[in-house]
Amino acid sequence: MGVEGIGARVVRKEDKRFITGKGRYVDDIKLTGMTHAHFVRSPHAHAKVKGIDSSAALKMPGVVAVLTGQQIVDDKVGNLICGWAITSKDGSPMKMGAWPAMAPETVRFVGQAVAVVIAESKNLARDAAEAVVVNYEELPAVADVHAAIKSGAPQLHPEAPGNQVYDWVIGDEGATDAAFAKAANVVKLDVTNNRLAPNAMEPRAAIADYDAAEEHFTLYTTSQNPHVARLVLSAFYNIAPEHKLRVIAPDVGGGFGSKIFIYPEEMVALWASKKVGRPVKWTGDRTEAFLTDAHGRDHVTHAEMAFDANNKITGLKVKTYANFGAYMSLFSSSVPTYLYATLLSGQYNIPAIHAEVVGVYTNTTPVDAYRGAGRPEASYLIERLMETAARQLKVDPAQLRRTNFITQFPHQTPVIMAYDTGDFNASLDAAMKAIDYAGFAGRKAKAKADGKLRGIGVSCYIEACGIAPSKAVGSLGAGVGLWESAEVRVNPVGTIEILTGSHSHGQGHETTFCQLVAERLGVPISQVSIVHGDTDKVQFGMGTYGSRSAAVGLTAILKAMEKMESKAKKIAAHALEASEADIVIENGEFKVTGTDKAIALPMVALAAYTAHNLPDGMEPGLKESAFYDPTNFTFPAGTYICELEVDPGTGKTSFVNFVAADDFGRLINPMIVEGQVHGGLVQGIGQALLEHAIYDANGQPVTASFMDYAMPRADDVPSFNLSHTTTLCPGNPLGIKGCGEAGAIGASAAVINAITDAIGKNNLEMPATPDRVWRTIHAA
């Protein structure tokens, strides 16, 4: 592998600038003549906008303009779109209400913008925004899914009667009913998957710069996928044609899905920049992040699992209500359907599955993909069901899982997915060994003597990553393809630039992608740079989410590398007067195998660009590009086991041990993979113990700051014990499955299974706050 090749624990190249304060984020960028935007946002969850009086604000110092929702509609800026079409079980398309970038007539969640103030400074804009008088007529609001679907509930959108976006089904209902009719045992469970606020460290931000002479826009924004942003802004929002719009996503401080979407603020900044003839900057604050960044999860589910007399699962029935908030965000429709229900088979052989998902509008912040996106909800449900079943059937929870594991691959589940490979027993064995599962009973008894309730919880997760084969997702309603592109440029001096459509916002691409080049060419990673996040530099890309950058993005780079290497070998063979088939690449040199004849990469590159002595008919230059479209999803899987203690006096949970045995296929940089797992596990633990975005019955957010929304801190989580049980992914040449979301997908069930084991009661909702656990312990 070499010291910097695939599998090496190379220190991250990008960290030098991050830890010395030299990162360049959107808010660090200052343009000449730049103005600042502050939005006037609704304090009401549901209201009619009867009038907006900007006269006082316009007289405030430094105010350039006050622009309203009616103006943006009048200027024919398009409404926000949802890019994945879902069809209800009755054959009707999903029912969506219009979402203008600023509300001209009706606001439907607290924080929705109705106007924007453009001023000479951020503070002046904020001062003036307070002077904008909005006359609202309050309407009844609804925040809870069950309340929203009741007859007589406040209605959000006339297009969606009963607040229902869709009622979608998957699987074979008849076969599933038949399995339940013959079941020896049926296990039932109601679970809520709590709503989360994503809370990337860097809040969202945008700078729009309109050049009137060129009729050209530049947008700097906190995006995980700048090309998709440009595509949507051009094709649907009428901002500008693609060649007149450059989108730059520079250093971005975390995304977790929340920065996939194109938000109203970017649209307004672009539109306003043209209106005022100056650059417009908007940087959200943390309160705006809580109010307007797309939230995650928020499912309410009833599920039943049927078993035969041998404890084999024979069927699964699921009904889920998904809270979408007030509007359908860009990929929201796909999250509780094709990213959720298609994973309901878990790691298990389940012959019949039927799931129904009802998507519901409420007067809350829109909900969309958040780290894991649908797959955490599926994994949590299945793993809570397995634990409940083990308790009900009085069998060891690990053994019940083993009894039902899929062991033959490929495996076609009843819910679309075809698992390509895996070894679920191997990861379960590794995790059980690491935590000394066999010795748990003794430790529990000892803890009891010390007055503590000790529990152990298993979670065997699987996810579909490497998103995604374009033809497959297209057939399911996706509005885009999900391939990736790359370009390899070898400069005349032999240094290398990799242009990628993937976007790094914490993942370490500037290191891992260089490691592939080091592996193949034997050059140090210091001679390689990664170019990403700029639509003027990189031809196209679908961006980073769904654990796809290595499995899809890096494979695209590999394809481009292979083309480049093929041409370079021809040049080397010509220079060395050897056969192309005899050329091998080692340590930065092209060698004639079995001889001491060699030519260094810089000489090959120089030859390509001087073009003085190239093979007949060869074009000069050494630059190749490739698009890679995966043939299947990848299926990372693993087992997490958590051991913890509950203090019966306070209900507080303390971790004793947390082990993770993951199968991510090939690892490029194990250190970076561990970091990804750590972060994911902490987010999963955060969901299980701490985090919950709460609204009161009238749609007022209760958790709009860190004083109320509990983010996990370092002392809330244990040191993790990680290991890998690897089966290579057969779907891509590098054998990569992806690692970005696993921790967040698998961790929460392990924690709740452990707490419920400790306290001896099965029903416990997330987050398992000390209060909630204490009340559950002491409930009659």
Binding site: N123, G649, T650, M707, M711, R775
Partner: protein, 266 residues
């Protein structure tokens, strides 16, 4: 933050004089509450008078059975002070679990009690130890000083100069942290005075701010041990409730934290 005028006072007298000249002034101690509130635009003082550089407000003194902490002393200096650790280790402990390191390097005892946040730690120590609050005008005993949520006996422009604690026979403080804010979800300070008097104060629990807990005081007076509190029932009436702790849960915490504080006090 709205525009404001900043003043740095070099003496208590100068601070009082500046206050008198301003329309809506606020004193700034460590700024751990006032500045975030101003940044949120929830407070808009015309003038901010910084007390942080006033020398006469700095320091700790132990004289006989009285520990005096000057109002502007930051938490870090309190928790590391040898006299505090010797005379009332429970105060050193309370300070060491107050906020986070950044807060402990800026926040002050005077700022904490003047603000009287219902979930602040120090009010419980003052109340349980029977401390006396010294101001530029008078002395106020703790029982008279705390008047409910964010309310104290302080008059307009009055500045706390020090807090005097009688050194107790035994004292202990334990709290359950609020999962989000890390303030005290509930904290209980127990103290047995050298006279034998037992005083117990709970913070974070009551809708009226820091409170004495007579039922636990009586139980501990009879028998200074954690098990003495086993039979005590704390009513949830009048207790705070929020998404992180119901009133019933806080009532339980008053009892459990009191037991643990007694154990810690020895």
């Amino acid at each position: 933050m709205y525009q404001t005028t900043y003043h740095r006072a070099s003496s208590v007298d100068e601070a009082v004089s500046l206050f008198g000249k301003s329309s809506e002034a606020k004193f700034l101690a460590g700024g751990q509450t006032l500045l975030p509130v101003m940044k949120q635009r929830l407070a808009s003082p015309s003038d901010v008078i910084d007390l942080g550089k006033i020398k006469e407000l700095q320091g700790v003194e132990l004289a006989g059975d009285t520990l005096t902490i000057k109002a502007g002393t930051i938490y870090y200096d309190i928790m590391t002070n040898a006299d505090v650790k010797k005379a009332i280790p429970a105060i050193a402990h309370l300070t060491s679990v107050l906020g986070d390191p950044a807060v402990r390097y800026r926040g002050t005892i005077g700022g904490s009690i003047a603000n009287n946040d219902p979930a602040a730690d120090f009010p419980a120590a003052l109340l349980a130890l029977g401390a006396t609050v010294k101001t530029n005008k008078r002395s106020i005993v703790a029982d008279d000083f705390f008047k409910g949520l964010f309310t104290t006996a302080l008059e307009d422009g009055e500045i706390i100069t020090a807090v005097s604690f009688p050194v107790p026979a035994k004292a202990g403080y334990e709290k359950m942290r609020h999962p989000a804010s890390r303030f005290a979800l509930t904290g209980v300070f127990v103290a047995q005075a050298k006279s034998g008097e037992v005083r117990v104060a709970a913070t974070g629990a009551s809708q009226s701010g820091v409170m004495r807990v007579p039922a636990i005081e009586a139980a501990l007076k009879a028998n200074w041990s954690p098990s003495a509190i086993d039979g005590v029932t704390i009513s949830a009436n009048g207790l705070l409730a929020d998404i992180h702790g119901s009133a019933e849960y806080r009532a339980n915490l008053v009892k459990v934290m009191a037991q643990r504080a007694v154990k810690a006090a020895g």
